[in-house]
Symmetry: C2
Subunit: 399 residues, 2 copies
C-alpha cells in the first residue's frame, strides 16, 4: 500500500510550482504550467511511460502500445484557476503515477495498454472554455472556435501554444486517439463536503448553466439625484444576488453570482449599467430551468420597480452527465461499497463520458473548500485514493 | 441681455473638446483638459484679462490688479468625471466670460478687481481628491499629501503637471492669493431636479461621507459548495446595497453604492472578498451619522448570518457648508426672490466658503441627470444664468 509519506514525497515535488501567497497560478501555457508539464514528462519517463503531446496540447504517458486499442486511461489536469488550490487536477495525476508504482510492486502486468493523461486547460481560466483539451479531442469544441480564443491580454491559444514550442496546426478532433481508449477513470478531490469517508465514486455531474444578466439604468450624480428619481441598476443587481440565493435554497440547487462589472464604477456616481453572471446547477435540468425562471421573474418584477431594464442571456448550458452505470457499480463494489455521489463541478471525465465508458473517484475534502488556496486533503486520504485507483486499474487493465 | 444664441455660440467653441460617444473625458492634465485650458486662455485674453496659472495649477484671468485686494472672483472648473456631462463645471466658466461681456456692453466698469477662475480637478476623477485645486489653495489638503497622489496608471500629480509644462514645485497653500479674494461666486448647473425655475441661489452643501466597506468570506467552488456551507461576501454586499437605499429613503438622505470590487470576480467562484464604497449625504450631519449607523447595524447582523466579516471605514467625511447668509440673501433679493436651495454635491465654492464670503448660483437641470452624458440645460436657461451672474457681479464689483 502507498503510505501517506510516499504520497507526500511525490506531492512535494510538484507542490512548489506556481504557488503564490494568493494561491496557485497555473494557467495553461504559462511558465508554471510548462514547469508542471516538465514534471509530468520526467515522472512518466521514470516509470517507463512513453510521453507524447497530442495536437490539442494534451499530455499522454503510455505503458504498452495504445494502437492496440481498448486502453485503460487515467489522469486529470495540471492547470488551476487563478488563486486556486493545489489538489484540483494534480491529485489525479500524482495518484495515477503512484497507482502504477503499486501495480508494478505487486507484479501486476497490464494486459491492456495503460495511459496517464493531463488534459489542457480544464479550468478554462485563461481562454474561457472549461475542459478545453478534452472538448477539442472529442470534437465538442470546433477548432474554428478554438482559433478565436484569446486570453485577457489578447494572446490567442495558437500563439500561446506556439510560444511554448507546441505545434498548434493540429487543433481539433482526434477520433483515432479517442477510439483507442477503452475506459477512462479520473480521480479528483471532492469539492464540497459531500464525502464523509476517504474515497467515493461519482454517479453524475449536475447540469450546469451560466447566464449573463445585463441591467441598464440611468447613470447619475450620487449626491444630488433624489432617491425617487433614480434608475439605479445596482439595486436590481443586489436583488438578483439575493433572489438567486433564495431560489437555490428553495429548489435544492446551487446558484452563485461571483462576477460583476459596473459602469462607471465610481463612488460618487449612480451606475448606468451593471453586468452580472449567474452560475446555476442542480441535480436535473428541469430544476436548473425552474430556478432560472424563478430568478428571472423576480428580477424582472424588481427591475420594473427600480426603473431599470434587465436581460438574461444564457452563455453556456451543459446537460446532466450520467457516468457509465455498469462501470460505476463495478468500481463501487470493488472498493467495498464506497459511497456513490453526484457532483456540481464539470470535469474532463464528463466530456469523455459521452464517448467511452468513464468513471470518477473522489477523495474526501475535509473543509469542502475548493478553487481557493485553503483547498486541502489529508495525506492519509490521498494515499487511500491511490490504493483505490490502483485497485481499479488492476481490475480493468491486468485481469 | 445675453441671447440664447449668443450663449450657444460660445458654448459650441468648447463643447467638442473631450467629447466621446460615452460622454466627456476631461480628466485633469490630460490632453482634453489642456485643450480646455488653452480655450480658457484665449477667451480670457480676448476680453483683456491677464491670465496666470497658480502654483496648484488653477487658472486665473484678471481684470484689474488683484494685488489691490477685495477682488470679486467667479468661475468653476473645466474637468469632468469619466463619461460625464458637458455642463458640470464649464457652464460656470462660459457664463463668467459672457457676464463680463454684458458688463462691458452696459458700460459698467468694475471698481474692484474681477477674476475668472478654473480650479484644477474639481471632480477628483484622476487623482482621487475632489476639489483638489481649491483644497490645495486654501490649505485644506497638505502638499505632502498631494505629492503622494497618483492616477490609476501610477502617474503622480507632480509628473502629470510637469508633463503638461506646469511648474509643480509650488504645490500647497497660497494665503496671499486667497487673501486678495473679497467675494467668490460660482455658477453651476443644478444636479437634481430641485429647481423648477431657470435660476436659484445655494443655501448650503449637505454634509457628505464616503465609507469603504470590506466584506470578507471564504472563496470557494460555485458548483460544489453546498448552499448551507457558504460564506459568500456577495450576499452581504447585496444586502448592503438594499439596506443603504432603504435607510436613505426612510431618513431623508441620499445613499449610493456605485463602486464595487470583487475577488477573484470569476463566474464559477464564490468570492473571497467584496469591497464596496458607500456614498451618504443628508441635510445635516446627525442624519448622515444616523443613516450610516443604521446601515452598519443591519449589515453587521446580516454578515453574522452569512458567515462573513464586515468592516466600515470612513474615507472622507465633509461637514455641512452653510454659504454666507448675508451674501445669499442679498443675491436672492437682487435676482427678484429666486429660490434658495441646498445641494448634495460638493463644489470648489464649498471649499472657498470657509475662507471668504461665498455664494453659488444654480441653473435649472430639466432632467436632473448629472455626471452622465445626458446632463443638459436649455440655452434659454443658460442665458438667464449669465444674466443673473452679470447682475450679481455688477452689484458686487461695479457699485
Amino acid at each position: 500500500m502507498t503510505s501517506p509519506d510516499r504520497f507526500a514525497a511525490l506531492w512535494r515535488s510538484l507542490a512548489p510550482i506556481g504557488r503564490t501567497p494568493q494561491g496557485y497560478q497555473r494557467l495553461s501555457w504559462t511558465a508554471p504550467d510548462l514547469e508542471c508539464r516538465e514534471w509530468f514528462a520526467e515522472e512518466a519517463a521514470d516509470r517507463g511511460l512513453r510521453v507524447e503531446t497530442d495536437g490539442n496540447g494534451n499530455l499522454w504517458g503510455w505503458l504498452g502500445d495504445p494502437a492496440a486499442g481498448d486502453a485503460v486511461v487515467t489522469g486529470s489536469h495540471l492547470d488551476s484557476v487563478p488563486g486556486g488550490g493545489g489538489y484540483d487536477g494534480p491529485l489525479g495525476i500524482v495518484s495515477a503515477f503512484l497507482a502504477l508504482d503499486l501495480l508494478a510492486e505487486r507484479g501486476m502486468r497490464p494486459r491492456r495498454p495503460v495511459g496517464v493523461v493531463a488534459f489542457t486547460e480544464e479550468e478554462g481560466s485563461r481562454f474561457g472554455v472549461a475542459c478545453l483539451g478534452s472538448r477539442l479531442l472529442t470534437g465538442a469544441l470546433a477548432p474554428e472556435r478554438a482559433a478565436t480564443l484569446h486570453d485577457r491580454d489578447g494572446v490567442t491559444l495558437v500563439e500561446a501554444m506556439k510560444s511554448a514550442g507546441v505545434d498548434a496546426s493540429m487543433l481539433g478532433p482526434d477520433p483515432t486517439r479517442l477510439s483507442r481508449i477503452g475506459t477512462f477513470v479520473e480521480l479528483h478531490i471532492e469539492q464540497g463536503r459531500a464525502l464523509a469517508v476517504p474515497v467515493g465514486v461519482a454517479s453524475a455531474i449536475w447540469p450546469h448553466g451560466r447566464w449573463r444578466i445585463d441591467i441598464t439604468g440611468q447613470g447619475n450624480h450620487a449626491g444630488t439625484t433624489r432617491m425617487a428619481d433614480r434608475h439605479d441598476p445596482m439595486l436590481t443587481f443586489a436583488y438578483t444576488v439575493l433572489a438567486a440565493n433564495k431560489e437555490a435554497r428553495l429548489q435544492g440547487g446551487h446558484a452563485t453570482v461571483g462576477r460583476v462589472g459596473v459602469e462607471p464604477n465610481a463612488t460618487n456616481a449612480i451606475p448606468s449599467r451593471v453586468t452580472a453572471w449567474l452560475d446555476a446547477r442542480a441535480p436535473d435540468r428541469s430544476t436548473v430551468d425552474s430556478l432560472i425562471a424563478a430568478v428571472s421573474a423576480r428580477v424582472t418584477e424588481r427591475a420594473s420597480r427600480d426603473g431599470t431594464a434587465v436581460a438574461f442571456t444564457p452563455e453556456s448550458v451543459s446537460p446532466v452527465v450520467d457516468f457509465h452505470a455498469g462501470l460505476r457499480d463495478r468500481i463501487a463494489a470493488l472498493l467495498g461499497g464506497v459511497p456513490v455521489l453526484p457532483t456540481g463541478a464539470g470535469h474532463d471525465a464528463g466530456v469523455l463520458a459521452g464517448h467511452v465508458p468513464t468513471a470518477m473517484l473522489f477523495v474526501r475534502n475535509p473543509t469542502g473548500i475548493s478553487h481557493a488556496p485553503e483547498e486541502s486533503a489529508s495525506d492519509v486520504d490521498c494515499a487511500a485514493g491511490v490504493e483505490a485507483l490502483a485497485t481499479v486499474l488492476g481490475e480493468l487493465a491486468c485481469r
